[in-house]
Symmetry: C2
Subunit: 395 residues, 2 copies
């Protein structure tokens, strides 16, 4: 007996015709898998339309009621899918978050899955049904419906796969994960397999195929992940624990546009001002990144960090309020090389720096992790660097 | 401390603007009532649109999944109403059928309320909140969402009022219950008060203001009902237990269009054939009415009954299959006089028959109950008879 959890996003089930198409993909998969659980997002723009109505009634809609409102989107897509299966003579059942036993904790609009009591799902699978579960939602200890925030349906799918001992397949509108964004490099290769760590690093560094949160959960519970096109007929990318497979040293190049560099000159020379500054930025919910620190000849501290363009105005406001001196550089891009084999291979950094030298590309910052190197460069050098890296590392 | 359950139908909450208007009616009512529970139907055509999608996917959509699908309509209207209240600074909470403790039994699409566990509603009311409950839905012993069938939201409201010891107010797009359909008689009077029995009789005899089912429940649990316009500024109709109030002998004239008279000549003279015929009609879900029975000079049984036009083809098919002889008369109307005081007053029947004689209106059938008399007449005599009755009984 084998089990799989298949997840389809909102664009894959945007119309009743698309629901029919996805049903066929599920039925094809069912031929080689005994028990299939399907996790669905809300149809296309359903959730957006609901939010629009809520915002007509309130500038700041109540999170509890917004969760109840939004949770109906997945109930609609899930029940329509089960209705379609039954019309084909295939037994199926649509389960809401609470019916599927998905218990959540934490704030509305961004709750987390606390536990899953899968008895009903298991019973329905044993009865031979295709089980359709609403993604993105759970029920908390007060009996209130909560939503799981960004990437919530992926998280639902991974959590169900973990508790059911199943593989998790995420179907989307891309063919898998690529070595380089196919829009930048025409002949970018699809990656056949990745480790969780590499995928996480890529997701955190700007690749948009899957939310880091669900990858982290898959890693924690060792759920095999598979990311593929929602037509089901193109081989996708497998994400697993690291094993002995021979691998390219670099598996992926990511880029994150519109990164902003801010430099703070701390002429007062007091550590506490820097700490206060970082604390205020954190309180303002500003994500900062690539932090570097130095001292000039006069003993002044110099700290620099990056953030995204959306946060620029807020950062400037916070720093101005603190009467800090700072400089801003915009139109930058962070280009990252990622590969879990990097840690076992010497000379990767040397080759990377060599590429920047040969291409005469200046960098504003560099940061490294065990499995990645990131360079902050002018945005108009971004594509040149991505292609040069791809040539150097044979991607 | 006083409590009220206010119910608003789908047309009253069809848009976010209408939700705002209804919220104002609720707030006005809150000035004179400590604890307010609001029961809402789905917004306007929401449910129809959902059924349409289901029918795109299945000729005969699964009842269980259709219930789940349809139940989202009330979740949307209820959460939007609570969002609006909270944006006005008024504490409110939207509860689904299962959160409100509404336990259902019976088939999907036409389940019944089995019991209500009102603890959460009571807690929320005590916390000072306006509690918005989704109408039309409950949860059964399997944990599945069911809908309550036609008039389900009225039933939800009455059942909640019963368990909460509250009055039940049904807000609609008419000003209350009228002595005669205002479209037939321009100066029809709104009725200030009615008994449950009278209301039931009227609902069963064709008045469309409220479903008989919810009136019967209100009677069983002695829930005071009030039916009024959804603007809240016109006095409506109170429905209560019969008391000593002085009343007009006739409180209402109802009519039911397109009633069909079918006459069956049972030339075989066997009781069992009639019984079989009635059984087959019942199996075919045909509602029959005004049954009369006689024997002709040759000893043949003659049975006649009425049904609605929609059932005509089915009745003909059933009778033909049984090889029964029958005649059909179409274009008939059943006009009914209703008044609970009728039982204590002599001569009402005589006055009613007198009206038909004076107006030279022939009738095909007559039937009586303790509190009503109904005549089956040609549909083109209907308005003449309704007006003549209204003159005779001062309505």
């Amino acid at each position: 007996m084998n089990r799989v959890v298949m997840k389809f996003g909102g664009s894959s089930v945007a119309t009743t015709d698309k629901i029919r198409d996805v049903a066929q993909v599920i039925l094809n998969r069912k031929k080689t898998c005994d028990q299939v659980v399907v996790v669905l997002s809300a149809m296309g723009k359903t959730t957006d339309n609901m939010i629009k109505m809520a915002e007509e009634l309130s500038k700041n809609p109540s999170p509890r009621e917004t969760d109840l409102l939004m949770s109906t989107g997945e109930m609609i897509s899930a029940s329509l899918m089960a209705i379609h299966f039954k019309s084909l003579g295939i037994d199926s059942v649509a389960l809401t978050g609470f019916q599927a036993g998905i218990k959540s904790v934490g704030s509305h609009r961004k709750s987390k899955i606390d536990s899953i009591e899968p008895q009903r799902i298991v019973d329905e699978l044993r009865a031979g049904k295709i089980v359709i579960v609403t993604g993105f939602q759970g029920i908390n200890a007060s009996g209130d419906i909560t939503t799981l925030g960004r990437g919530g349906s992926d998280t639902s799918a991974v959590a169900l796969a973990a508790v059911l001992g199943a593989d998790c397949e995420i179907y989307t509108d891309v063919k898998g994960i690529y070595t380089v964004d196919p829009r930048v490099r025409k002949h970018a290769k699809k990656i056949d397999q990745l480790t969780y760590e590499e995928t996480l690093e890529m997701a955190n560094l700007g690749a948009k195929v899957i939310e880091p949160r669900s990858v982290a959960m898959a890693e924690r519970f060792a759920v095999p992940l598979y990311i593929a096109l929602n037509t089901g007929d193109v081989e996708g990318t497998y994400i697993r624990k690291e094993d002995d497979m021979e691998k390219n040293v670099i598996t992926n190049i990511s880029k994150k546009d519109n990164v902003l560099l801010t430099i703070v000159n701390e002429s007062f020379g007091k550590e506490s001002r820097i700490t206060e500054c970082l604390k205020n930025l954190a309180d303002g919910d500003v994500n900062i990144d690539m932090i570097s620190h130095a001292r000039d000849k006069e003993g002044n501290q110099i700290i620099s960090f990056t953030t995204d363009l959306a946060s620029k105005a807020l950062v400037e406001e916070i720093l101005s309020t603190m009467e800090m001196d700072f400089e801003v550089v915009v139109n930058l891009s962070k280009v990252s090389l990622i590969g879990s084999a990097m840690r076992n291979q010497v000379g990767v950094a040397a080759r990377a720096f060599g590429v920047l030298h040969d291409e005469k590309i200046e960098y504003y910052e560099v940061s490294t992790s065990e499995i990645s190197i990131s360079y902050l460069v002018d945005v108009d050098k971004e594509n040149q660097l991505v292609n040069a890296f791809a040539d150097e590392f044979n991607l």
